[in-house]
Amino acid sequence: MNAVGFERVTLAYGERTIWSDLTLQIAPGSFVAILGPNGSGKTSLLRAILGLVAPAAGRIEVQGHAPHRGDPGIGYIPQHSSFDPDLPFRGRDLVRLGIDGHRWGMGLPDAKVTERVARALGSVEAAAYADAPIGRLSGGEQQRLRVAQALVGEPKLLLCDEPLANLDLRYQQTITGLIAAWRERSGGTVLFVTHDVNPVLSLVDQVLFVVNGRWAAGTPDEVLSSERMSELYRSHVDVVRVHGRVLVVGETTETGFNLDEPHHVPVAVEHRPEG
């Protein structure tokens, strides 16, 4: 049984097709990087797996069943976003939401739940600041807590939506390390949306690259090549490997680079004449 399977899936918002005809099987225990420019539908792909949007066509299967809202087998780590510094809410409370935050009722104190939260905090080494107001913690500390929150429910599948964005290099490594350690420990599957593949390159088994409704999937070596990328972008793109890093670089045109962020993620310039 695949962790996630896409069969000729098309995703659309109203009239606008995000991407179409995606067929992809993701084996349990694999680490998949989902790459592509902003607005290419990476987050929508995660939302489809979470059962928050239904595909316009095709079939998605998540651990043997159709996607459904509130799937307890899925953990989710969002992009770092700041909390109000005066919000009376602690890291401990954030992690607890990962256990029973979705349930109706008050959520009164419960020794078993408290114990699970404490263990999750320990596993990401966040116990020292778990009682401080969450809005006063650094971005990296908050993301550690996010990892604990996503893993405390013991998911089989972890969806990460740009979890490294706005973090400095040291914290990028810490967060990546925590996710890698979880995968090792539990045999779980990771889908990792990112605009820069480099921080996770050594972990990635499979890459899914989405551009302007088209996609390419395969191992990093297969997908991150000048031929495949040029084909995907329908323009001349060079993939360069320097010091174990992958750089995707577009050619210059009258309107600037034909890729928006040459060292990160490429975005095709829309005004370029066809040809």
């Binding site: 509130g70 799937d71 009376p88 979705h102 969806l159």
Partner: protein, 299 residues
Amino acid sequence: MDQVIQLLGYDFVQNAIAAGIVIAIVSGVVSRFVVARNMSFAVHALSELGFTGAAGFILLRLSPVLGLLAGTTITAVFIGALGVRERGRDVVIGVVMAFGLGLGVLFITLYKGYANQAFAILFGTITGVSREDVLLLVGIGAVTLAALALVYRPLTFATVDPEVAAARGVPVGALAVVFLLIMAAAVAEAIQVVGVLLILTLLITPGAAAERLTPRPGAATAWSVGIALFCVLGGIFFALLTNHPVSVFVTSLSFACYLLARFVVGPRRRDARAAQRTVSVAPTLVERPASSITEKTRL
């Protein structure tokens, strides 16, 4: 003082206290979410259109309490239907509020000899509520509290962490509408004490003061309820003692609570916690270098 004790024997005072307790508990809990969700403008709009509802019901010779509830509920439904997302929400509220207040003006001009009741709704009437009104207010309060108890946890999730809440299957959009309806009931209740114009003193200030006193969400809600109770009951007490309107004292007490929480009690408690944390963190700090070395060698 003797005079107050004597007054406690009167029906109208007992009515006021019974209604005041329920209203304070509802306000205390709701104000926590109003503050965290940044919805003070919505509270204001619900309140002013509660006035329109009450004016309309008085014109039709119906219960002004039910009129308040009708006004706030219809407004909540409108805001909910037109847009509950944070972006553009205030615009929708402004549009609905302007129209609704226009209706309120119309109702006032249509009704003759109206001034007294209008004044009561604008500035609070708690010592004037009848037995039936008390039962009605307790009933509305009980239903509101039951609804809050039911949605408390997912509403907290949706408020603090909407993106992950949605991913975990929490119906974030539906809860926003449910909370608007809860706010509608809370506003209709709180207007009884402080009136339309001073509504924020019960639906913002207790929650805002509580935020300064503790980082624990449950404790903050308890503080907020406690502050609201103190303000309402204190307000009734001083009103009986002096014969001035209740709302004058409620607003003064709640403002004093906020200032104390923000500038005196809050900072002191924060310092105490910081001191405690450095003590408890010290042993782990000693262990830390070892673990960071292993981390480095692994990388």
